[in-house]
Each structure stands twice: as structure tokens, then as C-alpha cells.
Symmetry: C2
């Protein structure tokens, strides 16, 4: 385990800002057949991951971070000293931070089916020498979690101090506590749901249609340097709106017009409002880092995730859970609303488990779990400290 | 004015259900130059419209109905006896209904820039013999209202008993009361806004991008039988979600699966959930009745509508208003939320006008104004009856 003084004395410039410093992603290669829930198999797979901090002698200080739809394994630190941005949850994870890498061995891995180094539809199929495309096995949250477990075993982790995830990461975290009850001591799920409602499925379906109706999708068999870039950008622009909130968009953009459109009304279909410019940028930057087929697979995994359907009831699903659970909902999250988060804790409580629901008042929408919040940090810190205590808060 | 007994004795089968019966749309041809707010001109234009009931001798019993983005002039009755559906507001308009065609002369016209018979981007440009496409003048709500006024003059209407509209129709109705104060006695606006927020602009922009990035859009110069059908369907699917609510979609579809997908999980990207099937149907049926360029023009008109920006403040915008106003918001409308509706009435009140805001508790979302509601009918009926009385209800 690194010593705080060692870190403070480090010459690493990135660590000077209190972060985990320069991080080198690793690859875990599982070279045995892996059978998906669908019955399809792969001869093996790779998971790309990062770790921060060190595994202790008793191998019980590991914390697994599970990412959301468009996230990846890079959740803290920088790959290069001059990276414009650190990992996506760098505000939460690091030495002395809420998820304290001086104490914990933190692991984050790109999910199976993803496109940031882990095996997914864009990976080469060794049998054909071409990308799998949509011949890739159908992926479920269940498959993602089972693959992660193989990585934990590979790393020598004996127990997880906690599994933490927001959105799709929260789904994975719940399933971890269900599939490997004795392995998971604490479950921290945020801005998530035990099953999506019709509206969330509907938005995902529009995104999939935007991709699949793009001629460049070519039935999923597009070249690595091509593909349905237009469809993927449209899907991302739309989805991005659902991650924010009306209030946060109004505060950030309102009806502000671009400088070149500010002098009177623009009588054309070019960008006029700042929010249009922002969305187009979101769409364009996404297509440079995300694979369209992965987007199809992962949104389908989200839509099919349904604990009550899979186990008969939510209480039955949670029956084996041994983990202490904290579920955090955010008032402005309209994609996976507070009620859906609260229902998780309620079902755990009905199943006789230690569970707690807390709601944070934010106006930042679904992405609230990613944003800087001392309230959230204090909750996470306290939850990781405590041993066996249940605080129930059903305030809305 | 038709007599109730005459109507009851009519042999018209469609009238037997209490509706206005068979309706024949009319065309109003304005053959003088028309200058748009943008400064661009047309040598003339056509408005397609329908009327129900008869104009009285004093020409003061007319009610103008203004439609929303995807609506048209056909708001009551049927074109053929075996039409599957009547006009879009047939539940509200008809003999003895809330907007009583036994008493009122009701007019509804497809908006300028539309694609259901009125002059718009898909109309032939007489100078080129081809569709205008995006050479059509930029259209604003202001232009739509001015064109409607020419139709009112043509019909010999001396004063409007009321202007009624929901969503974009509400914007038109407000502008009617501002531009022609002495002409409008009552203003009834529902599920509308004096200006869209960033989120609504964002959704419109994603729809426009879906259309304009579709290769078949061809910079707006597509043939009448072609065009960006994929992009328009995507735009419609997404927009349709914003017209409903999470609760109504859950009640209508939930996570119900299609019969052919019901036996276990479907491991492919075909339709699995009922809501997916419904949305695809919505997209496909829309492309058969709507022009993609009209969609661009009209959404842009929606985004640019901003009374406070145009007049300095909302109170200044409403300064000339003489109409009695009723604004109706719907609790589940997240596209043009209750607060935006209430703000209209508040500004009118601050400007010293007779205005009233009422909120109806529905879970049907933005489209609540279109749905069957005895509460709404009673409000409309009462509002059309009263002369000069103000009831203010700011309850939420």
C-alpha cells in the first residue's frame, strides 16, 4: 500500500493535484472459452482495466468501480501528464478522496462488449480475421459481471470491500451482490434501476434505429475506419439530453445564441443556439471514441436487465445478498428517477437486508452521480468506513 | 347558423356520433405578395382550411383553432364516412361539444410553411416549376399568424370570439392577441410556452440533424416521392417520446414484450418490446404524411419564438392585449412544463390584463391537451361562455 508521504514526495506532476497520477492500463487475457447467457461462446476474451492503490496482504481492500454505458476503464488519473482531462470519476477516486486510494485497491475495467480495449463487436474474430460486428455474442449485464469476476480472481482479490457503480454500473454492482454474495461486502449503487421503464427503452430504441438505419451500418459489417458515424452521433446527441436536466441545460445554455448568430435572428438552419453547438460537439466527439455496434449491444443489455423478471421478484433476486447496501438517487434524474432507486433499497429491506436509500437534491439530471458534490463524497466516505450499521432515510 | 334539430335529423352517418359530419377542406388563395418577417417574399400563398358551424349575421361568433407542429387543418369531422379517425380535436369540437359548432363558426387552417395543403417548402415554386425546398422563405410564428389574419378577412370574420391553441398553437394564439388586440376577445392557450428552454431546443435540433444528415435530404432538394425518410422517422420517434410521459408510457407499454419475443429473451436487435414496435410505427406513419423540410422550418419557428426577446419583456409583449386569457398547463407535460404556462398568465396579470392560469393533473404528458378530459371540456366551455370575469388559480 503506498504511503501518503511517498505520494506527496512524488515527482509525478499529475499527482501534485491530489490525483492518482499517471496510470497505465493493463489487459487481462482470459484464454479459456467463455459462455454467454445467450448460450453463445467465445474462445476467450480480453478485459482492459486500470488499478489505483495497492492490494493489501489480506487481499480484502479492493473496490470495483463499474462504468456506465459510454464510460470505460479509465476512471482516475491521467495516461499522459498533459491529458486534457483525468479519468471520468477522478473527483471521487484518489489519495485522500472519498474512494481513498491510500487505503483501497481500486479496479475499473472496460465492460465485456465494450470498445475501449475489452473484447467486443469491434474486436477481431480470430476465426475470420475480421471484426465480429453483430456476430459477436449477445451481451448481458450478467455476462459483464461474470467476466469481471474472472479478473478479480486473476488479480488475487479475495473479497471486495465494495462494488460501486452509477447508471449501468449500478446494475452491474447489484448483480455482483446477487451472483457472488460472499464476495461483496458493500454495494453502492447510484442513479440506477432494477429495470428500465418504457421511456428509457424508447430512447435507447430511437438511438439504435438511428444507427441501424444509417446506410453505413451495413448490417453491422462496417470497416474499422467507417461505420454509421451519422447515426451514432444522432443517438449520442439525443441520449446526452437525457443525461442532463431541463434546469441544468437552462442554466448552462438557456437561449444564449452563438456569437455569430447573436445579431438578430439567423434565417437558416445553421447553428444558432449555444445548446445546438454543444450537442453537435457531443455527437462528433463520441463517434471518435465509441463503436456503433457496441452501442447497440450495450443499450440492449440495459433494456433487457430486469431483476424482477429474471428472479421472479425483486425480493427473490436480492435473497442471497450479504452486502451492506447504499442506494443514492438524485432528484433531477429523469432517466432513472429517484423512485426507481428507492425501490431497490425497499426491496432489499423487504428481503431482510441491510440497505439504505438516500436522495440528493441536485438539478444536474442523471449525470449528477458524476459531478462534484461534497454531499456525495461524504456519503461515499462514510459508507466505505462503516462496518455494520443501517441508516434508513426515505425522505423525498 | 345550423339548427340542432337539423343536424340531429341529418342522414349523414358521421354526424350520428355527435360530430360535425363530413367536412370538405377549402383553399384560400392569397394572390398578392407576402413579405415574411425575414424580409423574404412570396408572390402569394395558399392556406388550406376547414370550417365547422356557420358565421352569424354580426360576424362575431368565429373561433380560430391553431394546430401544433405535426397537426393540420383537419381538426374535426371526417373527410369520408369510413375514415378510420376523425380530425385531431374532434373530441373538443362539434355540435354540443365544448367548442360548440351549433353556436360558433370554427376555423382551422394548416399553417404557412406546412405540408398539408398550405404553401410550404414542398409547394411548387412557380418560377422554377420545382419544389421550393429550403429556398422557401424562413417562417416564423409571426408569419403564420399574419397569414391567418388574411384568411379571417377573406371569410368576413369581424372579430374572433376566441383563438384556441395547444403547444405551437398556443404560441400562435398568444401572438394573435398581441398583433390584433381588438380582433381577439378570448385567448385560450394550452401546453405552451412564451419561449422554449434549452432542452426543447435541444430535442428539436437533434431531430433537424437526423433529417439534414440523412444523405437523402440532399441539401433540401429531394424529389416529392423521396427525401430523408429515415431521418424524418428518427426525428418523429424521438419527438413522440417528448409528447408523452414516463408514467403514461409505462401504463401503456411498460416492459411488455411482443408476442413473438415473449418466450424468453430475444438475442438480436429486432423489435422486442411493445414500445419499440409502437415507436417504429409512429415514425413510419409520419413519413407518409409530413414533409421533412416543413419539419425543419416549423421546428425552427418554434425555437425562435421568444416573446420576451422580441418585445423586450413578456409584460411589454402583452401590453396591447385586450383578450380575456385562460392558460392551461398539465402537470405531466415536461416539454412545455406547467411553470412555463403559468408564467404566461403571470406576465399578463402583471401587465394588468384579465388572465387566469389553471393546471390540470394528468399523467399523459404534453399531449394531454389533445386527450379526452371532462375537466378540460368544462374549462373550455366555461371560458367561452363568460364575458368579463377573472378567476385566478395559482394552485400547483
Amino acid at each position: 500500500m503506498p504511503d501518503l508521504d511517498d505520494l506527496a514526495a512524488s515527482a509525478d506532476p499529475a499527482a501534485a493535484d491530489g490525483g492518482v497520477g499517471i496510470v497505465v492500463p493493463q489487459d487481462f487475457v482470459h484464454d479459456k472459452p467463455f459462455t454467454f447467457k445467450s448460450g453463445q461462446t467465445l474462445p476467450g476474451f480480453t478485459l482492459r482495466y486500470e488499478t489505483y492503490g495497492e492490494l493489501n496482504a489480506t487481499r480484502d481492500n479492493a473496490i470495483l468501480i463499474c462504468h456506465a454505458l459510454s464510460g470505460d476503464h479509465h476512471c482516475a488519473g491521467r495516461h499522459k501528464a498533459d491529458d486534457r482531462k483525468p479519468g471520468w470519476w477522478d473527483n471521487l477516486i484518489g489519495p485522500g478522496k472519498a474512494v481513498d486510494t491510500n487505503r483501497f485497491f481500486v479496479i475499473c475495467t472496460n465492460c465485456l462488449g465494450g470498445c475501449s480495449g475489452s473484447t467486443g463487436p469491434s474486436s477481431l474474430n480470430p476465426e475470420t480475421g475480421r471484426s465480429y460486428g453483430i456476430t459477436f455474442p449477445f451481451v448481458t449485464i450478467h455476462d459483464m459481471v461474470r467476466a469481471q469476476k474472472l479478473l478479480m480472481d486473476h488479480l488475487g482479490v479475495l473479497t471486495l470491500h465494495a462494488v460501486i457503480g452509477g447508471s449501468m454500473g449500478g446494475m452491474q454492482a447489484m448483480l455482483w451482490a446477487i451472483l457472488y454474495p460472499s464476495f461483496v461486502r458493500r454495494l453502492l449503487a447510484m442513479a440506477t434501476t432494477a429495470r428500465e421503464g418504457a421511456q428509457a427503452i424508447a430512447f435507447n430504441e430511437v438511438g439504435r434505429q438511428a444507427i441501424m438505419q444509417d446506410p453505413a451500418w451495413s448490417q453491422g459489417n462496417y470497416p474499422a475506419d467507417g461505420g454509421p458515424r451519422v447515426g451514432l452521433a444522432i443517438a449520442r446527441m439525443m441520449a446526452h439530453i437525457t443525461y442532463l436536466s431541463d434546469a441544468s441545460m437552462d442554466r448552462k445554455f438557456g437561449r444564449r445564441k452563438r456569437a455569430d448568430a447573436a445579431n438578430g435572428d439567423a434565417y437558416n438552419f445553421d447553428i444558432q443556439f449555444e445548446v445546438e453547438s454543444y450537442l453537435r460537439y457531443q455527437g462528433q466527439s463520441f463517434i471518435n471514441r465509441f463503436d456503433a455496434n457496441s452501442y447497440l449491444y450495450i443499450t440492449r443489455a440495459l433494456d433487457q436487465f430486469d431483476l424482477a423478471y429474471a428472479y421472479g421478484s425483486l425480493e427473490a433476486a436480492f435473497a442471497p445478498v450479504q452486502a451492506e447496501t447504499l442506494v443514492v438517487g438524485f432528484t433531477s434524474d429523469w432517466l432513472f428517477p429517484p423512485e426507481q432507486n428507492r425501490n431497490i433499497a425497499l426491496a432489499l429491506l423487504r428481503a431482510g437486508k441491510r440497505a439504505c436509500y438516500t436522495e440528493l437534491a441536485t438539478d444536474l439530471g442523471h449525470d449528477s452521480f458524476l459531478l462534484e458534490s461534497e454531499d456525495l463524497y461524504a456519503l461515499v466516505r462514510g459508507f466505505l468506513e462503516r462496518s455494520h450499521e443501517t441508516v434508513v432515510d426515505f425522505s423525498i
